[in-house]
């Protein structure tokens, strides 16, 4: 259940492109044709599925506060979390290089379709973002970390596929000249993000999401109450002034 929830949550609710704007640069640059978008999207899923669990291991056993306890009790109070950026990016860069070599050796056809995109991916913020959000959301097991990597990759894939299809069609429409190209892509992405916001209510049956909604509701109720009080006071004051 936990897995299913995380899966749908990372694809739709916390979609990398529409909710957190990760990987926007390649999203905008490589979305002119559906076929290239599919190639890049597949490569992103692939690399996220490898790097997120790997960085999870690094985070759990080296970087977190007290993570070095397995080395012996004298290392138990070390907190290396300030090194996480450099460790994560080093893992990503080497993994991408490694994956490139392995794929080239064992599956030349896959290499031909992914090949040019792999080096690009090392600097795609979606990949580093996946690891950093994995760290800040405190994902508990390596299975969940793998799940998180794959599902947020799929979310990214869906987003770039959709925008590439729309951009192929929009070529035949009469867009105002200054908006052509980049401008209209931004606005369409904004509209798509509004659409994706409607998925926000999808998991309200689960424990986590419903709690969050309750919180915001309560805040609203409190604000309403405050407003009512303020109004009443205002009314009192004005009646006083009139008197």
């Amino acid at each position: 259940m936990e897995h299913i929830e995380l899966f749908f949550k990372s694809i739709f609710i916390d979609n990398m492109v529409f909710a957190t704007f990760l990987g926007m640069c390649s999203y905008l640059a490589v979305s002119k044709k559906v076929s290239t978008a599919v190639g890049l999207g597949a490569a992103v899923i692939f690399v996220l599925a490898i790097t997120v669990p790997l960085n999870w291991l690094l985070d759990q056993y080296i970087l977190q506060e007290g993570a070095l306890a397995w080395l012996g009790s004298e290392y138990a109070d070390y907190d290396l979390s300030f090194l996480s950026f450099i460790m994560f990016i080093a893992t990503i860069a080497t993994m991408v290089q490694l994956v490139e070599i392995v794929v080239e050796k064992f599956s030349p056809s896959l290499y031909n379709s992914l090949g040019i995109f792999l080096p690009l991916i090392a600097v795609n913020c979606a990949i580093l973002g996946g690891s950093l959000f994995m760290q800040s959301r405190q994902i508990e097991t390596i299975g969940l970390a793998f799940n998180y990597g794959v599902s947020s990759g799929i979310g990214w894939f869906l987003a770039i596929l959709a925008i590439a299809a729309i951009r192929e069609k929009i070529r035949y429409s009469n867009v105002p000249a200054p908006l052509r190209g980049l401008g209209i892509t931004f606005i369409i992405t904004g509209l798509m993000a509004i659409g994706f916001m409607s998925f926000g209510g999808m998991l309200t049956g689960g424990s986590d999401a419903s709690e969050k909604e309750d919180d915001t509701l309560q805040v609203q109720v409190i604000e309403d109450l405050e407003r009512k009080e303020a109004k009443q006071q205002l009314a009192k004051n004005t009646t006083k002034v009139i008197k």
Partner: protein
Amino acid sequence: MAKDSKLILDPLADNNPITIQVLGICSALAITAQLKASIVMTISVLFVMGIGNVVMSLIRNIIPSKIRIIVQLTVVAALVIIVDQVLKAFSYQLSKELGAFIGLIITNCIIMGRFEAFALGNGPWRSFLDGIGNALGYGVILIIVGFFRELLGSGTLLGYQILGDPIAKTGLYSLGYENNGFMLLAPMALIVVGIIIWVQRANNPALIEEN
């Protein structure tokens, strides 16, 4: 000298990293719900780009081109760690708000893009100017977007209530004005940047793209 000033002035308008070169969009959109966060982000990028460009330009002749991406990532990551630690030490609240996005400066394409496009082929002083110029160009857009989103979304600027008090109904609110909470949500950032691009290209037709 005229050429040097061009390095700084060009990215502010006609060669803006966000609206023209399409670099560094991710962070530009994610943290602009408040003006303060936009300003801090601008300063952080200014620091990382200025120093990073100089470092890359100094070592450009000794690194083999095959491993240059890893070297670049390491240089940027080291600088970003400095920024992150400084923020944590002096403004913990803000560093919590910006969260993962400070880390994402590492993969901010604007930095890698300028390394590749400029610092690897030019001397340190010119690279420094180029870095500062591009970071400022990036910051201008961030601050414009942050300004409108905070003003229209929560009626404040840098946390100060500009339009009056929404609860006591003073200022503009006494006329029935309401905050547009939608501006604080993610999609509006995209649409605001889209509108900035529209205005910019309408003023300068040379920038209009082919469909």
